[in-house]
């Protein structure tokens, strides 16, 4: 057994779709593109593909680095690679940037083929279900009829869950990590604050800021700051920053005094420097709307009856954004339907962000689960 390694240098690929995609909002995309990456080899039986779905700020760049950006590590690189829990010697792993994203797939910051100008606010609302539809078409292009597994954390977990409901016959296993069957009022409230920060930024220009040569950086920074608070646990924030004062004492200023302020501003500025505000808006709405039980009068068990995949559900004790109770709702609904589901509640101090970390128990659970998936 060799040491777990990296998938190495990777390169994004681009798929083009010309068959119109109907959207849940009532609109449609006549044509669109998806950027994706793959790691490992699709086997001859074409039965070893694992789709990785990304969360709010993720992308198709899930593992490895780029030749010209050696420090640009994929966001789940600790999980994916030869000898890692999601082992690329066994699996063909696919990462895809969702529709409406800002990392190369068709989205508000991309050109609208109908006008030759950037979509901006004219890009249609997209839902988790729309994303899954688009991902399924990408699987068609790649010649993958049935996924060995679909896996995702947070909003990515919602996509994994939705795959098992929209295309039950096309997904053998699903890992739903640090996720929820729908947002709570508090979750929506945080998203709404983030949206209001962006929408009321004078540089937002009704979503057509590209045409004005500006970006609503103030709003996007605030949105990220408030989001970031919900990704960490109170305890982990306390352990990491506590009440440490940059100058050792109060200096009575609105500049950075407490280290936590410095951290949040840095995270906000960094994010505002590369992420698209319209994508942030669209993505928070996709989160808000997701509620597979809605069409079943709120009965999640009824909504999940159609699923046939074998599930792994993982939650983290200190995650207060999507607390373990929310994962258990999914587990109970699956058990009600006598579906195969393993559930792990990991005692990790890092809050919602735990799903991105490599806690050994967490990765142990994932590794064992992927190991048991049969491929030819």
């Amino acid at each position: 057994m060799t040491q777990p390694g990296s998938v190495g240098i990777v390169a994004p690929q681009r798929a083009r779709f010309t068959e119109p995609l109907p959207l849940r909002s009532g609109g449609r995309l006549d044509e669109y593109e998806l950027v994706y990456e793959t790691y490992g080899q699709l086997n001859a039986a074409r039965d070893n593909a694992v789709l990785v779905c990304h969360a709010l700020s993720g992308s198709h760049h899930v593992a490895g680095t780029y030749a010209d950006q050696p420090d640009n590590l994929g966001w789940w690189d600790n999980l994916i690679g030869p000898g890692k829990p999601l082992d690329t010697r066994k699996f063909f792993v696919i990462g895809v940037n969702n529709l409406g994203g800002c990392h190369g797939s068709s989205g508000p910051s991309a050109l609208n083929p109908a006008t030759g100008r950037r979509w901006g606010a004219d890009f249609p609302f997209v839902t988790v279900e729309d994303w899954v539809d688009a991902q399924a078409r990408l699987m068609d292009q790649l010649g993958i009829e049935r996924l060995a597994a679909v896996v995702g954390g947070s909003l990515g977990g919602m996509q994994a869950l939705s795959w098992t409901l929209q295309y039950p016959e096309r997904v053998r296993h699903a890992a739903v990590i640090a996720s929820a069957p729908k947002l709570s009022a508090q979750n929506i409230a945080f998203n709404e604050v983030a949206r209001q920060a962006i929408l009321t930024d004078p540089d937002f220009h009704s979503g057509h800021y590209y045409d004005h040569g500006v970006v609503p950086a103030r709003g996007l920074k605030l949105a990220r700051m408030v989001g970031h608070i919900t990704y960490l646990s109170d305890d982990s924030m306390g352990e990491k920053f506590g009440r440490s004062l940059r100058h050792g004492k109060a200096v009575y200023s609105y500049d950075v005094e407490f280290e936590i302020e410095s951290y949040l501003r840095y995270q906000g500025d960094k994010f505002a420097g590369f992420f698209d505000a319209n994508t942030y808006l669209l993505t928070t709405k996709a989160l808000d709307y997701y509620d597979p039980a809605f069409a079943h009068g709120g009965d999640l068990a009824q909504a999940l009856a159609v699923a046939s995949a074998r599930f792994l559900v993982v939650s983290f004790t200190t995650d207060w954004r999507f607390a373990p109770e929310r994962s258990r709702e999914i587990v109970y609904a699956l058990l009600h339907n006598q579906r195969a589901v393993s559930y792990a509640e990991i005692d990790c101090p890092a809050g919602h962000d735990s799903f991105l970390l490599d806690d050994p128990r967490y990765h142990g659970v994932l590794g064992a689960w992927f190991d048991r998936i049969e491929v030819r």
Copy 2:
């Protein structure tokens, strides 16, 4: 026994101070004014006075209504009045708007006597300790040498605690409700998001927006929205609003869709319509700075050794802003010093805001505690 009643129509009073007040920030106020209200009668022994300290958005208007504003009920009117837990037939109750406030006391939106213009950003930073100093001088003016009790919730609880440390001989009893001995990193983080929302609002004009005929309403609205989320519990927000959609279904718009969005925007707009942004900034900094244990190497028991008051500490099970653990820190530190302390952890679903509500167990505990306070 008559039905509990109202203190009726009240009128604010104004006290003027011309002896300079040194501030913890190193600055000082050469002269200043405090607006206050009183309910009940100071007895001949002058030993029945209870000072009520307000939290972030409170004021001196604690009970009763105004003759010209019959709907403007004091913020703790459910607690204070004849026959109520804090019974004005027995006690002389005082509410005071803190320094730096925006309800009539000297603050950023008041005139700077030195310039004849509004203070704006030139108003000095004030701390919990400064507020208590100013309140003590008001007690001097009112001829109250020793308070029967000082009481406050949240930031008001910090002032009550600070009274017992700064003027231990002047306060017989202290009620510290839904409070904490200091903010956590997460608490500071939320405050910092609120401040950045205000500070980066183009209408802020470095705090001198009064001179520009504008107010940073967008920033203040966002600040209030994010604050409001932390005042409610996840469960109470869920019960109150859930995922109710205004139009019964998703309409794919950034206008209000979920009822929780409507509520938050309404709360934000209302607040931005009457509260001063500079006061909000100053007050969040006062919260962040408060840490009586800091001068004692973080040893809260050592910091509280000087206190001699009899304490009541109250927390609420669903309060995640200042969780019961934070109140227990105060209780343990007092017990370590063998001080008299009663502690009640109230199982109330409403989160941090519970301290403003009239949960019968909560008011029962308060009423019994006030009943036991001896006055001549």
